[in-house]
């Protein structure tokens, strides 16, 4: 057997074992735990039940899910509105500066998002940078109450997740065949029409990818809601974390986690479907 084939087998084998041990097995344990009963001195008691799932139907937890989806959807929308022109400008910039512009998008990644969230606190504080600036410019008399609001949470999420929107959009816009845009213009389409009927459909895989990359992590980033929202909103992430770390209710935490995984799985399925359709359209 050649060295190459051996390397291939070892590489694939290692990854397979890794995934089996550290992704599949733990997830399987979570699924199993979700059907067991909470115990007092042990974490789980081997009494099978679907209780945990029945409890998920409580309006309280539906509210928690709804809240998470709402915040995440708002974040996604804002990221798209800000990210699209942003990506467009980078993609249309002089090819010599493009790598540097992209580098600027990526640089914030080098700092932990936890640290960046703390930095947002310093900016949004009552005596923070923003209020001080607005006051010294004479625009406001009293400091604005910015921190510990839903607005602060969304601002934090948008700030953290924006690069995940910009990068796939950039990739899609950069690949765009500009001859098609020129053709549209030659055929008399106005700017808005060209944008709506040509550019958007052609970059839709990038739009969908960006939205997924922002929306899905947005559901889980509970620490942003804790720090910037003052821990007042319970998101799915908080709910799961608390079942394990304070309520000692592993079955319920597991059930919430499985539900979230299923919902996310469905969304990724929708994405793949949409991407396939978009590709089919382009080929036609």
């Amino acid at each position: 057997m050649s060295d190459h084939a051996l390397f291939k087998r070892v590489a694939i084998g290692t990854i397979a074992v890794w995934l089996l041990l550290f992704a599949f097995a733990p997830n399987l344990m979570v699924v199993i735990a979700s059907f067991l009963t909470r115990g007092e001195s042990e974490f789980l008691v081997w009494t099978p039940t679907t209780d945990a799932y029945a409890r998920m139907l409580d309006p309280l937890y539906l509210h928690v899910f709804w809240n998470s989806f709402y915040l995440s959807a708002m974040t996604t929308l804002l990221c798209l509105v800000i990210g699209y022109p942003f990506a467009y400008l980078i993609a249309r910039a002089n090819p010599a500066v493009r790598p540097y512009l992209l580098l600027l998008v990526i640089i914030p990644f080098w700092t932990s998002s936890l640290v960046r969230t703390y930095a947002m606190i310093v900016i949004l504080n009552t005596n923070g940078l923003l209020n001080t600036l607005l006051q010294s410019l004479g625009l406001i008399d009293e400091p604005l109450e910015l921190l510990y609001t839903d607005g602060a949470v969304i601002a934090g999420l948008v700030y953290t997740l924006l690069p995940f929107m910009v990068l796939p959009l950039y990739a899609a816009i950069e690949k765009l065949d500009w001859r098609l845009v020129e053709a549209a213009r030659d055929l008399g389409a106005r700017k808005v029409r060209t944008f709506a009927s040509v550019i958007i459909p052609l970059t839709s895989p990038g739009i969908v990818a960006g939205c997924m990359l922002v929306f899905l992590p947005g559901l889980g980033m509970f620490y942003v809601a804790d720090f910037l929202g003052g821990s007042k909103t319970t998101l799915i992430g908080n709910l799961i974390q608390r079942q394990f770390l304070s309520a000692r209710d592993w079955p319920f935490g597991s059930a919430a986690s499985v539900t979230l995984t299923i919902v996310m799985g469905l969304m990724i399925g929708l994405y793949l479907l949409a991407a396939k359709r978009a590709n089919a359209k382009v080929e036609v």
């Binding site: 057997m1 087998r9 070892v10 084998g13 290692t14 397979a16 074992v17 089996l20 041990l21 909470r38 007092e40 001195s41 042990e42 974490f43 309280l60 937890y61 509210h63 928690v64 809240n67 504080n125 009552t126 005596n127 923070g128 109450e145 921190l147 510990y148 804790d226 003052g230 821990s231 007042k232 909103t233 319970t234 709910l239 608390r242 079942q243 394990f244 770390l245 304070s246 309520a247 000692r248 209710d249 319920f252």
Partner: protein, 354 residues
Amino acid sequence: MNRLPTLARLGALLLALLSSLACAPARAADERTLVLYNWAEYMPRPVLKQFTKETGIKVRYSTYDNNEAMFAKLKAVEASGGYDLVVPSSYYVTRMRAAGMLRPLDKDRLPNLKNLDPRLLDKPYDPGNAYSVPYLWGASGIAVDSARIDPATVTSWADLWKPEYRGRLMLLDDLREVFGIALKLDGRSINSRDPDEIRAAYEKLLELRPNVKVFNAESPKSVLLSGEVRIGQIYNGEAWMAEQANPKIRFVIPKEGPLLWVDNLVIPKSARHVEEAHAFIDFVLRPEIAKQIAEEVGYTTPNLAARALLAKKVRDSRTAYPSDADLERGEFQTDVGDALPLYEQYWSKLKAAR
């Protein structure tokens, strides 16, 4: 060569690797060591160094930031015996004792126990301190920014409900602490397991909810110092640090009494170095060591001899060292067992309420 055996061989290799890792602590057990598992930022390094220097016992130190995480880890290594000394909060002492996870202390080996404040010994979470020795403790009360609120108007937990504090209040992000306030005001135990009492407490807290601007348990002092809130529930240790940074901050112990917690040194039943663990407990109970710990960590020491060594400003402060009367009225947290998921459910509801 087909595919499956390669996978199987790789798997075997990985397992062998993992089991050799798992054996590593067992081999190290032969020399005199102590495996200490403590809260993060809860033990000054020089204390550990001095202990090793004096006794020749090596200390292996790891940390956690959550009682539940500590409990889970301890459970996981119960059979092989990983840790010799851990530092659970009072209500976890109850729980671990009930689960048979703790080893009774040999008090003949702990002559320095005499230094401890008798007010903090023999509490309901561990009668007679058969299993636990207080390490650091604290009380939660109310901090007030006297520049904006007259501290004389705040004397009771009920004052937090005043309508003028709408959107200006901080509560600790800890369900036991927050429910403790309402239970105490109702004249119940903060350790109630009665569903009706817990529901009544929840309903009371629902009325408090519009006042809450932020829940924070990590660093309540920074929220207060940033001017974001003007009144809030806070641990006395945090309040003491806030007072040092801003003299306008005042700490009030409500007349219904504070909620009390104690972190305790305990030896797990599975410990392998029991003698070393006792030696370490007694070392930490020495006045000058306990003083060093209290000064470095910033919380209140239960060690009277150590307190006498502290700067006068610190030891006479009612914030850092609540009075006898305060302690008398306070209540210590114990485990609530089966009632915990119910608390958690109401806690989620409370947070979701607008």
